[in-house]
C-alpha cells in the first residue's frame, strides 16, 4: 500500500493509468482501434503534438505562458517550404534557417518580457498576432506546394512496424529535455526561476538569461514541430499552428505541471499528449462530430487541473 501511495504521488502514474484505461475501454468498443494502421496514425499525431506540448511546457516551467507557440510553429513551417520553393535553398539549410526563425521569435518574446516587465501573457498575445501577421503577409493565405520529395518521403517513412520516422526527432527532444531539466544547470535554473524567482536571483542565477533561454527553447521546439507538420501534411499550409494552443496547455497540465511554475514532467506531459491523441482518435472511430474534440479537450484540462489541486492539498512530509 505504501508503494502504491508513493506511485500515486509521481506525475506519470495517474496519466499512465488513464492511458491504459482509455486503451482498454476503446479497444472493447472498436476492433480497429489497435490495428497497425491506426497505431501509426496515433503515433504521427503524437510526434507533432508532443513537441507542441514541450514548447509550452518549458514556459510553464518558468511560471509563464506562451500564447504564440502556434504562430511561431506556423511561421517556421511556411518559411521552411517558402525558402525551398521561392529561393531554391537546399532542404538542410532551409531546416536550419526555419529553426533559427523559431529560436529568434522565442528570444524576442523573452527579451520583451524581461525588458518591459510586462506579463508573458500580454507580450506573447501581441507577438502571436505579429508572427501570424508576418505569416499571412508572406503566404497571402495561399499554401506553398513546393515540399521536396525527400521531406515528403520522411513524412511517411516507417522505422519499424507502425513506428514512423517522424517520431524519432520527438523522442530525441524528449530525452534531451528530460536530461536538461534533471541533470543540467540550465534546466535546474529554469525550474528554480519558476519556483521562486526572488530566491533564484539571490542564489546567483541570472533570471534574465534563464527566462530568455527558456523562450528560445520554446521557439525552437515550436519550429521543429512546424517543420514536422510540413513533412506530415506534405504541404506548407499557412494555417499550421492555428489549433495548437489548447493542446499545448492540456498535455502539460494533464502531466501534473504546476501553472505557477517550478514543476513540470517530461514523461507525464508525453502521456498527456498520448491521452489527448487517443481520445481524439476514439471520437473519429466512433463517428462523433470532430468539433466535439475541443469540448472534450476543455473538459480534460478542467479535470486535470482539479486533480492536481487535490494532489497538492495532500500534506507532504509535514505532520501537524
Amino acid at each position: 500500500m505504501i508503494q502504491l501511495s508513493r506511485l500515486s504521488r509521481t506525475d506519470w502514474f495517474g496519466p499512465l493509468l488513464a492511458t491504459i484505461l482509455a486503451i482498454i475501454t476503446i479497444r472493447a468498443f472498436s476492433e480497429n482501434f489497435l490495428s497497425l494502421f491506426n497505431i501509426q496514425i496515433l503515433l504521427l499525431a503524437i510526434a507533432v503534438n508532443a513537441l507542441v506540448a514541450y514548447s509550452q511546457m518549458i514556459i510553464i516551467a518558468i511560471g509563464q505562458m506562451n500564447l504564440s507557440v502556434g504562430a511561431i510553429g506556423g511561421l517556421a513551417a511556411i518559411s521552411f517550404v517558402g525558402m525551398i520553393e521561392v529561393w531554391g535553398l537546399p532542404t538542410p539549410i532551409a531546416v536550419i534557417l526555419a529553426l533559427t526563425i523559431g529560436v529568434g521569435c522565442g528570444v524576442i518574446n523573452g527579451v520583451l518580457i524581461r525588458i518591459t516587465g510586462i506579463s508573458a501573457f500580454v507580450i506573447t498575445l501581441a507577438t502571436l498576432s505579429i508572427y501570424k501577421g508576418i505569416n499571412m503577409g508572406i503566404t497571402e493565405a495561399q499554401p506553398f506546394y513546393g515540399v521536396p520529395d525527400s521531406v515528403k518521403a520522411f513524412g511517411v517513412a516507417l522505422v519499424l512496424g507502425p513506428i514512423p520516422w517522424l517520431l524519432v526527432p520527438t523522442a530525441l527532444v524528449a530525452v534531451g529535455l528530460w536530461f536538461m531539466l534533471s541533470r543540467m544547470p540550465v534546466g535546474r535554473f529554469i525550474l528554480a526561476v519558476g519556483s521562486n524567482e526572488h530566491a533564484a536571483g539571490l542564489s546567483g542565477i541570472s533570471v534574465n538569461a534563464t527566462v530568455i533561454i527558456a523562450h528560445a527553447l520554446s521557439g525552437l521546439l515550436a519550429g521543429i514541430a512546424g517543420v514536422l507538420v510540413v513533412a506530415r501534411l506534405q504541404i506548407g499550409q499557412p494555417s499550421i499552428g492555428d489549433d495548437w494552443l489548447i493542446l499545448s496547455f492540456a498535455a502539460p497540465v494533464i502531466g501534473g505541471a504546476i501553472l505557477a511554475g517550478g514543476h513540470v514532467s517530461v514523461s507525464a506531459t508525453f502521456l498527456g499528449v498520448v491521452i489527448v491523441a487517443i481520445i481524439t482518435q476514439a471520437l473519429v472511430l466512433f463517428n462523433i462530430d470532430p468539433f466535439l474534440v475541443q469540448v472534450v479537450l476543455g473538459g480534460l484540462i478542467l479535470a486535470a487541473v482539479g486533480l492536481n489541486k487535490l494532489r497538492a492539498r495532500r500534506p507532504i512530509g509535514r505532520g501537524e
Binding site: M184, R188, F189, H198, G317, R318
Partner: protein, 509 residues
C-alpha cells in the same frame, strides 16, 4: 569597546523612503565570535537596517565597513559574495529541489550546460549538514523537511558561502522550544568558531539567553548601540524598546461603561484557529486590539466580517445573537465596517476615482429603479464626509492612486462613515502615513466614537494603541491574553502590554 576588532560596522546610516525617514543615523558594530541582538518594535527600522546590511537597500547616507574597509553592496549578491549572509524570515528554498542542490545552487550558477554530478553535490553538502547536526540525506527533497530543518538548511547554505557575518531574522518564530534549543546550541558553536551572528527576535528571554551584545532601535534611531549584554536586564530592554511616551496628549478618559454593547463575542473560535475569544465593544467606545504581526488580529477582524467561518461561540450585535455568513451581509444588514491594513490591495480601488471609492459601500442603498445609479446621488451622500475629514483632492474624479497615503487613509474612513456603520474595525490605521496625519487620524477616530460609533482598533504600534483606546485587549497566538484598562499613561501601560505578550511565551520554553 572590546579588544577584538569589529568585522562589520555601520556608521550614521540613514535611509529615506519617499515621505518617510525609515532610519536616521543608525550605528551598529559587529564583532567576530559574538551573537548580537537586534531589537525594536515593529516599525522601529530593524528590517530596513537588515536590508541595508545585506544589500537589498542602499543607504541614503552613512558608511558600511567590512574588515575596516568601506563597502557598498549594490545587490544581495554583492553582500553574500563579501561574506555577509542572511536567513530571512520567509523561506528562500526551492521545495522540489534536494537539500544538497539548495545548498550549492550558487556554485552551479557559473555553468549552464555542464551536467550536474549529484553525487559530488551530495558529498559537498554533507560537511555543512554535519556541522549543523542535521542528520538528513543530502538528496532528500526540501519539501519533505520540517520547518525547523528547512531553516537549518538555509543556515547551511549561508555557511557554505563562507559567511563571516550571518543575520538571522526571527529564526525561532516558527520553531518549537526544543527545536529552538538545538538551534541555539548550533549558534553557540558557530559563534565559538568566530562567526559574527546577528539575532533578531521579539522574544526577550531568547535574546537574554543567547546574545552577548545588543543594539536597540526605536523610531529609526539607536536606543542603544552595540552595548554588551552584561548587566542589561529584561526591563532595561523593554524600556529601551518602548522608550518615550508619545502621542498621548489627545487621550482623555471616557466613561462608556453604561453604554449598550454593540458587538459582543463569547467564547468564539474560528476556522483559522482562534480559541475562546471574548470581546465586547460598547457604543461610543474605542477598544484596542494589540498584538504582534501574526498574532491573528486581522484574521479575527475578517472572521467577524464574515470572511472566515466562525466555528464556535456566539457573536452578538446589539445584544442579539447573529450569524454573519458573508461580508455583504456584515455591511448592509449589520452595519459593520472594516478598514483594511492593506489599503492598496484590500481597502481602496486605486485606479478608480475618489467618488467611486467612497461610493462602493452605499451603491446598493442609492440604486433607483432598474438598478440605476447616479453620480449625483453618490456625491450628495459622500461629500459631507469627505469635507468633514478634509480630504485634499483636486476633484472627486481624481484617481485615488495619485493622492498621498494620508488622504487615501481618510478616504477609506470616509467610505465607511458614508455607509453609516455602527461598528468599525480599523486595522493598523497609521501604516504608511506620517506623524502629523497620524495624530489627526487618531483625533478623528476618537471623535467618531464620541458620536456613537463603536470602534475596534487593531495595531502593533504601542503608542498608537495607548493614544486611542479606552480598553486594550492583547492578542497572541490567536488567543486573547488579557485586557488592560487604558489610563493613557504610557509608562504604565506599555510594560503591562509587553508583559502580557512575553509572559505567554515564557512558559513554553
Amino acid at each position: 569597546m572590546t579588544d577584538s576588532t569589529p568585522v562589520f560596522q555601520a556608521r550614521g546610516v540613514e535611509k529615506a523612503f519617499p515621505g518617510v525617514m525609515a532610519l536616521s543615523g543608525v550605528d551598529i558594530t559587529l564583532h567576530p565570535g559574538s551573537i548580537h541582538a537586534l531589537l525594536g518594535e515593529n516599525g522601529a527600522g530593524k528590517s530596513t537596517l537588515i536590508k541595508m546590511i545585506t544589500g537589498v537597500h542602499q543607504p541614503t547616507a552613512g558608511t558600511l565597513t567590512l574588515d575596516g574597509k568601506q563597502v557598498s553592496f549594490a545587490s544581495p549578491r554583492d553582500a553574500t559574495v563579501s561574506g555577509v549572509g542572511v536567513v530571512h524570515q520567509e523561506r528562500n528554498l526551492f521545495p522540489r529541489f534536494s537539500v544538497a542542490e539548495n545548498i550549492h545552487l550558487e556554485q552551479l550558477a557559473g555553468a549552464y550546460l555542464k551536467p550536474i554530478n549529484y553525487r559530488a553535490l551530495n558529498d559537498a553538502a554533507r560537511p555543512w549538514l554535519k556541522a549543523l547536526d542535521l542528520d538528513i540525506d543530502p538528496s532528500t527533497l526540501v519539501s519533505e523537511l520540517s520547518v525547523a530543518r528547512m531553516q537549518l538548511v538555509e543556515i547551511a547554505k549561508a555557511l557554505s558561502l563562507q559567511s563571516r557575518v550571518l543575520l538571522l531574522d526571527e529564526p525561532t518564530a516558527s520553531l518549537t522550544s526544543s527545536e529552538t534549543d538545538r538551534l541555539f546550541t548550533i549558534l553557540r558553536r558557530l559563534r565559538d568558531s568566530g562567526t559574527s551572528l546577528v539575532f533578531v527576535s521579539h522574544k526577550l528571554e531568547e535574546v537574554q539567553e543567547i546574545c552577548d551584545r545588543v543594539t536597540v532601535l526605536r523610531d529609526g534611531a539607536n536606543a542603544c548601540d552595540s552595548q554588551p549584554m552584561e548587566g542589561v536586564g529584561r526591563q532595561d530592554l523593554v524600556r529601551m524598546m518602548i522608550g518615550r511616551a508619545e502621542g498621548t496628549a489627545s487621550w482623555r478618559a471616557r466613561d462608556t461603561t453604561t453604554h449598550p454593547e454593540v458587538l459582543g463575542l463569547t467564547n468564539v473560535s474560528t476556522a483559522l484557529g482562534h480559541k475562546d475569544i471574548n470581546l465586547s465593544v460598547r457604543k461610543g467606545e474605542v477598544v484596542g486590539l494589540y498584538g504582534l504581526v501574526g498574532a491573528g488580529r486581522t484574521e479575527l477582524a475578517k472572521a467577524i466580517m464574515g470572511k472566515f467561518t466562525i466555528t464556535g461561540g456566539t457573536v452578538r450585535i446589539n445584544g442579539t445573537p447573529v450569524t454573519i455568513t458573508n461580508v455583504a451581509a456584515a455591511i448592509h444588514h449589520h452595519g459593520l465596517g472594516y478598514i483594511s491594513e492593506d489599503r492598496k490591495n484590500e481597502g481602496l480601488i486605486l485606479q478608480h476615482s475618489v467618488l467611486a471609492n467612497v461610493g462602493v459601500p452605499i451603491w446598493r442603498k442609492l440604486t433607483r429603479q432598474f438598478s440605476t445609479l447616479f453620480d449625483r446621488d453618490i456625491r450628495t451622500a459622500a461629500l459631507p464626509y469627505l469635507q468633514k475629514l478634509e480630504v485634499k483632492t483636486p476633484s472627486l474624479s481624481q484617481t485615488v492612486a495619485n493622492l498621498s497615503g494620508g488622504n487615501q487613509q481618510k478616504i477609506s474612513v470616509a467610505k465607511w462613515l458614508a455607509a453609516s456603520v455602527q461598528f468599525l474595525i480599523v486595522d493598523e490605521p497609521s501604516v504608511g502615513i506620517d506623524i502629523k496625519t497620524k495624530a489627526y487620524l487618531h483625533e478623528l477616530l476618537r471623535d467618531l466614537a464620541d458620536q456613537g460609533t463603536a470602534i475596534l482598533v487593531i495595531s502593533s504600534d504601542m503608542p498608537e494603541i495607548i493614544a486611542l483606546a479606552d480598553r486594550i485587549k492583547v492578542m497572541d497566538d490567536y488567543r486573547i491574553m488579557g485586557e488592560i484598562i487604558n489610563t493613557g499613561v504610557y509608562d504604565d501601560i506599555a510594560p503591562a502590554i509587553m508583559n502580557l505578550i512575553h509572559d505567554s511565551v515564557a512558559p513554553a520554553a
